[in-house]
């Protein structure tokens, strides 16, 4: 039980996919012009994440190591198709607003990275909890971004009555997205530096070029698999 809570919190705080690891950024920036869109996007992504983690961890023992990435991609693509069609049928306005970013969930680095780095190595229950935790971490990041941008850019919150009389339209345009997430990441890092002086690195023993790369999680999985295979 303790481990389950730890896995869940891990996704929100220590390894928050967006604010700490800076992966899966495309939907975070593009779908946060209003808080409502942000909620819709995070629910869709979390659904795909939890389902793909569930299936991958269930069949992890019968997936051959060499072709596991294509297998993951097909599983993720299936659930993305389901989300896409359900959204078109029951939430057409949301589907229009999110546009091409609904099918693009399939290449969201968070989902593939979790399938590779967690679900492929852990039990079904733990993988579902990990999916929920990561999904919630994603939700926190994208919705806070959505609320800030909607408030500053259109002066409303969740399509309420206007609160600000002279909103700064730049905030709902592309530059505003980069600016707000830059400030959020800075804030998180500032708090992190204050809270703990001895921060452990998540990733170690990597060539220095890998430091800034968002794909390092996937690469590490491949590295470990090769090591396992060779002995």
């Amino acid at each position: 039980m303790k481990k389950i809570i730890q896995i869940f919190l891990n996704g929100i705080l220590k390894e928050n996919p967006v604010l700490i690891m800076a992966i899966g950024l495309c939907p975070v920036l593009a779908c946060s012009t209003t808080a409502t869109d942000a909620v819709g996007m995070s629910i869709a992504a979390t659904f795909v994440l939890v389902c793909s983690n569930f299936i991958v961890s269930m069949i992890r023992k019968i997936i051959p190591t060499q072709i596991r990435i294509p297998v993951f991609i097909v599983i993720i693509a299936t659930f993305t198709t389901i989300v896409d069609y359900v959204m078109q049928a029951y939430a057409p306005r949301l589907s229009d607003n999110l546009g091409v970013f609904v099918p693009l969930i399939v290449v969201n680095c968070i989902i593939l990275a979790r399938a590779e780095a967690f679900a492929y190595k852990n039990s079904v229950v733990h993988s579902i909890v990990d999916g929920l935790g990561m999904g919630f971490g994603f939700f926190v990041a994208i919705v806070s971004l959505g609320i800030i941008r909607e408030f500053l850019g259109s002066g409303t919150i969740f399509n309420s009555k206007p609160i600000l009389s002279n909103p700064a339209v730049i905030m709902i345009l592309p530059p505003g997205a980069f600016l707000v997430i830059g400030c959020l990441v800075t804030l998180v890092k500032y708090i992190e530096n204050k809270v703990k002086k001895d921060k452990k690195k998540i990733v170690s023993n990597l060539p220095s070029e890998c430091e800034g790369c968002t794909m390092k999680l996937i690469c590490i999985g491949q590295l470990q698999a090769n090591i396992k295979k060779s002995g």
């Binding site: 294509p70 592309p174 997430i181 990441v185 968002t214």
Partner: protein, 196 residues
């Protein structure tokens, strides 16, 4: 944009006005991931240009000549991602055997391209806009040029940022995002060009 948009307008719009990274937010992972060195940015943009043009051509053909006649449009997400990942594998094998020099330069970027949303995004956008064959190719080449332009400019800025004195909290991704905001702001100045 739709199927009546002239080719030159598609080209200009996809390079500058609707720049795929700074205006549409597609392909950000690789944009922030490999832009810390100018050399890796160059390699990545070459690989993206190559695969994007090829992938868009093939997926357009498959969509219009296989999926639509067979009423299988609902499979497009699965089919497109499989086309792209197998294409990347094929290109990798072909390069390794016949163009070892090119493989040395682009090799490590090719596997990353499978999960690059820019490639998949363009194949979906082409379908959404109902472009014809020629328009799709122009759109793919223009988008790839826009991607290269953004990532090369950005990596040159980042190389200088590394030696700049910065507060601890802004170091790393904070300053990178804020730099991108300023670049995006400057690209917004191009809105209105050719009526877009």
């Amino acid at each position: 944009m739709n199927s009546n948009t002239p080719l030159i307008a598609i080209l200009v719009s996809s390079i500058f006005v609707n720049n795929i990274i700074l205006m549409r937010f597609i392909g950000l992972c690789s944009f922030f991931g490999v832009s810390n060195r100018l050399s890796s940015a160059l390699g990545m943009s070459l690989a993206v240009t190559f695969v994007m043009s090829l992938a868009t051509t093939i997926s357009w053909l498959i969509y219009n000549f296989v999926l639509i006649p067979l009423n299988l449009v609902f499979l497009k997400i699965i089919v497109f991602i499989l086309v792209i990942s197998s294409l990347v594998q094929l290109v990798e094998l072909f390069m390794k055997k016949n163009l070892p020099m090119l493989f040395k330069a682009l090799g490590i970027y090719l596997p990353l391209i499978t999960t690059n949303c820019a490639i998949l995004g363009v194949t979906f956008l082409v379908v959404d806009y109902k472009f014809n064959f020629l328009q799709s190719i122009v759109f793919a080449v223009g988008t790839a040029t826009g991607y290269s332009l953004a990532i090369i400019l950005f990596s040159s800025i980042r190389e200088r940022l590394e030696i700049a004195p910065l507060p601890n909290a802004v170091k790393g991704y904070g300053i990178v995002f804020i730099t991108a905001a300023i670049m995006s702001l400057s690209f917004m100045g191009l809105i209105g060009l050719f009526g877009f």
